[in-house]
Amino acid sequence: MSDHSADGGDGRGTARKANGMTDTHHGDGTTDTYEADTYGADGVADGRELLPTATAARTRAVVRRLLRPHRALAYGGFAAMVAATAVGLLVQPLLGRIVDVVAEGRSPDAITWPVVLLVVVALVQGGTTTLGLALVSQLGETVLARLREQFVDRALRLPLERVERAGAGDLTARVTGDVARVGEAVRTALPELARSFLAIGLTLVAMAALDWRFLVAALLAVPIQAYTARWYVRHAVPLYASQRIATGAQQQLLLDTISGAGTVRAFRLEEEHTARVTERSSAAVGLTMRGVGLVLRFYNQLHIAEFTGLAAVLGTGYVLVRDDAVSIGTATAAALYFHSLFTPVNAALVLLDDAQSATASLSRLIGVADEAPDDDASRDASPGERETADDTAPAVTASAVTHAYEPGRPVLHSVDLTIGAGERVALVGPTGAGKTTLAKLVAGIHEPDAGTVRLAPGTRTAPRPAGTLPVALVTQETHVFAGPLADDLRLARPDADGAALRAALDTVGALDWAEALPDGLDTVVGEGGHRLTPAQVQQLALARLVLADPPVAVLDEATAEAGSTGARALERAAARAVEGRAALVVAHRLTQAATADRVVVMDGGRIVQDGTHDALRAADGPYAELWAAWSGSRAVPGASDDTTGTTAADVPGPRGTP
């Protein structure tokens, strides 16, 4: 007989089921948040182009491919599970044998043998089950590990443009939610489903072996179960989807409200935010209870199926015993077989749900993992080796570059730009002028719609020699990688020793605080670790740039978010970090322009001015206007214009020393 009775399975199953549902409702909030965000509260991805999802056929093919190297494991595990289940099915006939001994009024000693066999069966079943479960888990876990590695590999190599079109949440949702869901399924659902299906199948075979009419009786329950399962899935899928969205919305609101508690209080929005939370939470509660209602109706139907089948099997037993077709013991065994089916049937039906969502997650993982990795050629490109002999060749040449994020709305119109080796070019202009877009094109994040961007001396499509990076990009978007500070830095250069790390930190003026951290460079930073200030985080980004040591550096507002006081220190750090590199620096603060070798002014997607700071300041044009607005407020009243120049010169120049 199976390891527990119908009721035990039933009761726990429901508790599990119901809790499971509550889990989808409240659990792993981050995931759901991203999901709600990614797939949109209104169901569409808001004009985004989500990352690919593999078709069912493709998913199967990839899973088969992943399984292939582990074929022996798969067959071994399957065989062990079949053996375990088959042996377990001997229990009911043995019990039936005992019933027969009693019914036939034979000596009580005749019971001993079936009992000894029962013990043997128990031991063998235990052993084979251990073996089977271990093998199946090993198979699942190994394949899962390969899959997630492959997924992360592809995810990291995806062109940024592609990731951005999909929205950053899409990839994050896949890497957290989907990987976890598939992992959970492999860990719990897979072994249990395998056991359940085997138990169901082999039990039905065993009933047929007792007498084929028992099988027919048992199968009377199947139409009800099949109907119920279909009904359930039809209703559950949309319900769970809206539940996930509601949970995501609630989670996001809670996070917003809590992390913005200071703002809420400052503006006296407490009541309103509490009302919002209450409303969202009530909505989520309503959906949860609808889900619970659904599951409970599902179980109600299964109870009907159980009764139908059990009554039919008992009735069949009565008829067959009356007609002397089978013994009382056989009829008992059949009834016990059917009773023992409750647990695996319920388990399988419940797990179908998990399996379904895991399959959906799996196809989202495979959609990315199975992408051809060659799209990344542009980022893997390089200028070949650094050309030191020919210093006159421009490090960056952009010619007639045009780019549009949406068709028909170009943000760059045929832009030409060259940056000489070691030259520092500042890119200025009003919001929306296309500065960031041009910076991204130079950095190779986007491919221009028309025109070319070349890095000296080769094109960026040339294969990149190991350990060299043609162009680095540092933006105001920052991230501290979780783990020791040194590990974070080594992402830029894995073979860097302590001295190199220290030197890089020193270059950007971060060595003092880094060494003052509790464990120095071994201090765990990032998520869950020591918290760094925004300025420190940005210094870290610049230190990575120093370590990566590219001939070309693109800095996009890398100093903007630090606040006015921190900005000055960061500007000095940035200047030192790009020393000796061709640099394109996008800046609002014109101090960066004033100290650059050249200033390029953009407006409306075009370069409108190009020249040295002094020349442009003297000329009548947008830069002079910008500079007037900038320096006007900074000018010392009554002092000559030179004062401004002096102040600006206080900031170290590209090769200046502070």
């Binding site: 009721d7 508790a15 128990a122 888990s137 703002t263 503006f267 006015s564």
Partner: protein
């Protein structure tokens, strides 16, 4: 539904009580422990209180659930008994009438067990989610209390987790209780049935099953600790992946993909090894439990078979005994899992209680503000977080600039002005009333401190700006709160439509430079703001936040570095806008931006280790003060 229940009535889990108004000034200096036990203040909330309230408020649901759940258990226990009876009376005796009779009985039992399960579980689940919901609202209420304090020392994510995960686990105690009581009933009924069949057989089963489960538990002990380690490693692998992906742009910027991948692969392999060890242990445990169960069945069959063969018990009783043995494992396992769930619930209740019982950062005094508020702010010997005896008078209606050479000084000043904290020494006064004698909520209807990194909220651009305009009472910025993200900032009109005197929202948006940006946004002022404003650029976010602060139209406005991500031309325009919109009302600009400082009436320079170093108009300070030049002009 519970959502409508006034949150005050629910015992200690709800936290409506404000600190007693009669508390003397200076009480804030008292230690947290003192405050907790002080008479007339918030009662100390313990995990036990939280748990008791969560169950107590849902006791009807739990009771109904337990009653029906017990019915279900009895029904399930009867099924194997009835199988035995049918075999005995109908099949063995080939009695068609008996077959019909007993199948009808079986049908009735099934109907009863199915229905009682359905409605019992419903009742228990509802009790669980309602308690969960109530706790969540109570927690959010506590976090948002004007007195503050709850979020200090806790990361927002951790706090949000308490409002979801821990609240849920506490709520789940209701369901666990219901299941536990039902399981106990099931065990009781089963025991009676077995003992009535045969005392020795009953004893074998009743003693054997707990021993079996105990053995299983012993076996799983090492497994549990391994499984924890495994989960940690697995979580680590997944965290590393998520971390790398969320830093993807930064990673690609420096070409760190390969290094990152190597690191991830090592973590993944490490996690796999740990997982495999744990799954092997798990498989062994499953197999052992199976074998032990089989042995128990064999023992029952041996004893029951002999008794039946001797004629002590009937054939049906033998079948029923085997069935009941298997049944008994169910409720016993439920009990074990209920136990684990209760332990989790207790731990979560403690975390919830800790938040609810957090002492307020500031306490309400008994004073009230004279209305209308003139807006005279006076700092007297203010000593806090690096500030070392600041004396300062801000005239009503003045536009004052504050330049702090140390950002920490600026932060400390802002915290004291907004009364997020009370100064260590000295006083801040508004119209002659010390802030520490005021209710922090009331204070904030008069003084708004707009932080540099203020958060935007979900809704539309206009909704964010407008919500603040009416923030003293209504719920006007609930537009978009329905969650569909659809446009619907219609609530925003309320501020103007109500005829409330003050700044029009449009004027605030114009002054903050939001209006010029609207063209670049996909839906203009109805553009949705998501994820705390991450959908907007840094500069746009800053300007919307500034517009919100201006629209709030408080008698006193303190703004911190509002234009760090704004270009020079726009910044100059914003400076003029602020001056225009705040005309006649007290405004303090804490910044080092010369464009903003240029429009102020006066600038205070904080230097010299947290003291006022100089006070003069911007132009004068630029001319005469070296430190000021260094701090402001770059």
């Amino acid at each position: 539904m519970s959502a409508e229940r006034p949150a005050g009535q629910g015992g200690p889990a709800t936290t409506q009580e404000r600190p007693a108004p009669e508390a003397p000034p200076g009480a804030a200096e008292r230690s947290a422990a003192e405050r907790r036990s002080a008479p007339g203040t918030r009662p100390a909330v313990t995990g036990r209180d939280v748990l008791r309230a969560a169950v107590g408020e849902q006791r009807r649901g739990v009771a109904v659930g337990a009653l029906l759940g017990s019915g279900h258990q009895v029904g399930e226990a009867l099924v194997p008994v009835l199988i035995g009876v049918v075999i005995d009376r109908a099949v063995a005796g080939t009695d068609a009438g008996a077959l019909a009779r007993w199948l009808v009985v079986l049908a009735v039992v099934y109907a009863a067990l199915a229905l009682s399960f359905r409605f019992g579980a419903w009742s228990g689940e509802r009790a669980a989610v309602r308690a969960d919901h109530d706790l969540r609202v109570a927690l959010v209420r506590r976090v948002l209390e004007p007195g503050g304090g709850a979020e200090e020392g806790r990361l927002p994510g951790a706090l949000a987790n308490i409002t979801t995960e821990d609240a849920r686990r506490v709520g789940a105690v209701n369901m666990a209780l219901m299941l536990g009581i039902s399981a106990l009933t099931g065990i009781l009924v089963c025991s009676v049935a077995l003992l009535r069949t045969s005392v020795p057989l009953g004893l074998v089963v009743l003693l054997g099953t707990p021993v079996l489960l105990w053995l299983g538990h012993l076996l799983s002990k090492p497994l549990e600790s391994r499984s924890e380690a495994e989960q940690e490693r697995a979580a680590h692998a997944s965290a590393v992946a998520a971390d790398l992906v969320s830093g993807l742009r930064v990673l690609k910027g420096i070409g760190g993909e390969s290094a990152a991948l190597d690191r991830y692969r090592a973590t993944s392999r490490d996690s796999l090894r740990a997982t495999l060890r744990a799954t092997r242990a798990q498989a062994f445990q499953n197999g052992m439990v199976l074998a032990l169960t089989g042995c128990l069945i064999a023992a029952v069959a041996l004893l029951g078979g002999r008794l039946a063969a001797e004629g002590t018990i009937s054939l049906g009783q033998l079948v029923a005994a085997v069935g009941l043995t298997l049944f008994l494992l169910g409720p016993l396992e439920v009990l074990a899992s209920v136990n684990a769930e209760m332990a989790q619930g207790r731990a979560s209740a403690n975390r919830v209680a800790e938040v609810l019982a957090t002492p307020y950062a500031v306490r309400a005094g008994g004073a009230t503000l004279p209305r209308p508020v003139r807006g005279a702010v006076r700092l007297r010997g203010l000593r806090h977080g690096g500030l070392d005896g600041v004396d300062l008078d801000v005239e009503p209606g003045e536009l004052l600039g504050v330049v702090a050479t140390d950002p920490a000084h600026a932060a400390a000043l802002l915290r004291c002005l907004g009364r997020h904290t009370d100064p260590e020494e000295g006083d801040v006064e508004l119209d002659g009333v010390p802030l520490r004698e005021l209710d922090p909520g009331e204070l904030r209807t008069a003084v708004l401190v707009a932080e540099h990194d203020a958060d935007l909220f979900e809704g539309t651009v206009r909704g964010n700006v407008a919500g603040a305009a009416d923030g003293t009472g209504g719920a006007s910025c609930t537009d978009g709160a329905s969650g569909t993200g659809g446009p619907g900032a219609d609530g925003s009109g309320a501020g103007g439509a109500s005829g409330r005197p003050g700044v029009e929202i449009d004027a605030a948006m114009e002054a903050a430079g939001v209006t010029q940006d609207l063209g670049a946004l996909p839906h203009g002022e109805r553009t949705a703001v998501t994820e705390r404003g991450q959908s907007l650029s840094g500069g746009q976010r800053q300007r919307v936040a500034l517009a919100r602060a201006l629209a709030a139209d408080r008698p006193v406005l303190v703004v911190h570095d509002p234009t760090t991500a704004v270009d020079a031309v726009t910044e100059a325009r914003i400076a003029t806008g602020i001056r225009h919109v705040r005309k006649g009302r007290t405004t303090v600009l804490v910044t080092t931006s010369p464009a903003l400082l240029a429009v102020t009436d006066r600038v205070v320079l904080l230097d010299d280790g947290g003291r006022v170093a100089d006070t003069a108009p911007h132009a004068d300070l630029v001319r005469r003060h070296e430190t000021y030049r260094a701090a402001v002009l770059a």
